[in-house]
Symmetry: C2
Subunit: 219 residues, 2 copies
């Protein structure tokens, strides 16, 4: 079972991914016999190569990185992650939870930056080796909410933040279009609800997919 | 004027690229007024980002790099090189000579590794921003010649060398197919000739394209 979280920055998806992993670990510990562990992966990173690519991506402002360069570095990192970590884990029957995956590239670089969708699709397919998530949880928030949360966090504007409102409107719209096109894979969850409520909906969606009841991951 | 050299490993293309650059530099020094310099670029490398990507590629055996990862890292390096170095140089009227460019990806990853050509084409187009060489010199040698030269050089087998004969046969065939499809851009030069003879043909082809006579670059 391969589960991904997607959404705008500040949607709370990373928090939700962490909570789900905690919840799944409780489930697997209480199972008899104990189930195999849950593997939690944050893009980028996780393999020696993706860690090295990550250090380049973190420097991208200083290095005056072109958009196409960025896209290919994300794809390189993902290609390695899939083959070295995700595929072997799935083969062992492990549940893999990923904070962002190929849909992020479609949303941000395709819908957001306007790179032809057919091109993005082919790059994603090559990077993932055709692997698709069984379940994608799209934590959706309106732009106003993203703005408020970004301001509350006092985030230093980085390259992405400088992209402007229209860019994020296209990204959000892209995510919603993708979710509508693949209702079997996507669950859209309202990210403006309190964390515990969002977590309940995440557990319900994952529990249904795994045909089990998942305890809360909240402390 | 954007000139690229392509060919199998040990075809002598790097030697020929260096000789051409020397020859062009003599031409530009003797011009009145002196012409702008010639820019010589070796893929990968040349920008801070591509140098960092290069160090990852050099380690690829130790890092157990997947083929797709390798392809995307080459694309990332090329994307940056085009935007940060090649395009600005061409805009200034500089002659740019590149030892390998996008055709290498088509030949090695497309024809050689069997990645769908349409996918490789789209990746190349995104990486190069649509920039195509004005002239591509394909230094062609048969596989037997490559074998002999590799053995003479006592090269330690690396990942590429371990790919086997059939792989290189597909790469060479790919190059020749591309050259036949774009006769206006490609010049196929017999790389089994002595270095000086190959250089003469390179100078003749570049001289015709630049509508000038190019002195020899041999010492």
């Amino acid at each position: 079972m391969f589960i991904t979280f997607e959404g705008l920055d500040f949607s709370g998806k990373s928090t939700q991914a962490t909570l789900l992993v905690d919840a799944l670990n409780r489930t697997s510990r209480s199972a008899s016999p104990p189930a195999s562990h849950v593997h939690f992966i944050r893009e980028t990173g996780g393999t020696p190569i993706s860690e090295r690519v990550r250090t380049i991506l973190l420097d991208r402002q200083a290095l005056e990185m072109a958009e196409a360069t960025e896209l290919f570095l994300f794809a390189a990192s993902r290609a390695q992650l899939v083959r070295q970590l995700i595929m072997p884990a799935l083969t062992l029957g492990t549940v893999v939870v990923c904070d962002r995956f190929a849909d992020s590239t479609t949303a941000y670089q395709g819908y957001g930056r306007g790179i032809e969708l057919e091109t993005v699709e082919r790059i994603n397919n090559l990077a993932t080796g055709g692997l698709r998530p069984d379940l994608t949880l799209l934590i959706d928030i309106p732009l106003e909410e993203m703005d408020l949360r970004a301001r509350a966090a006092g985030t230093v504007e980085d390259r992405m933040e400088r992209s402007g409102r229209a860019f994020y409107a296209r990204v959000r719209n892209g995510y919603l279009t993708m979710a509508a096109a693949e209702p079997g894979r996507f669950r859209v969850i309202d990210g403006t609800m309190p964390v515990a409520r969002v977590h309940d909906e995440v557990r319900a969606a994952v529990g249904a997919a795994l045909a089990t009841t998942i305890p809360s991951g909240l402390p």
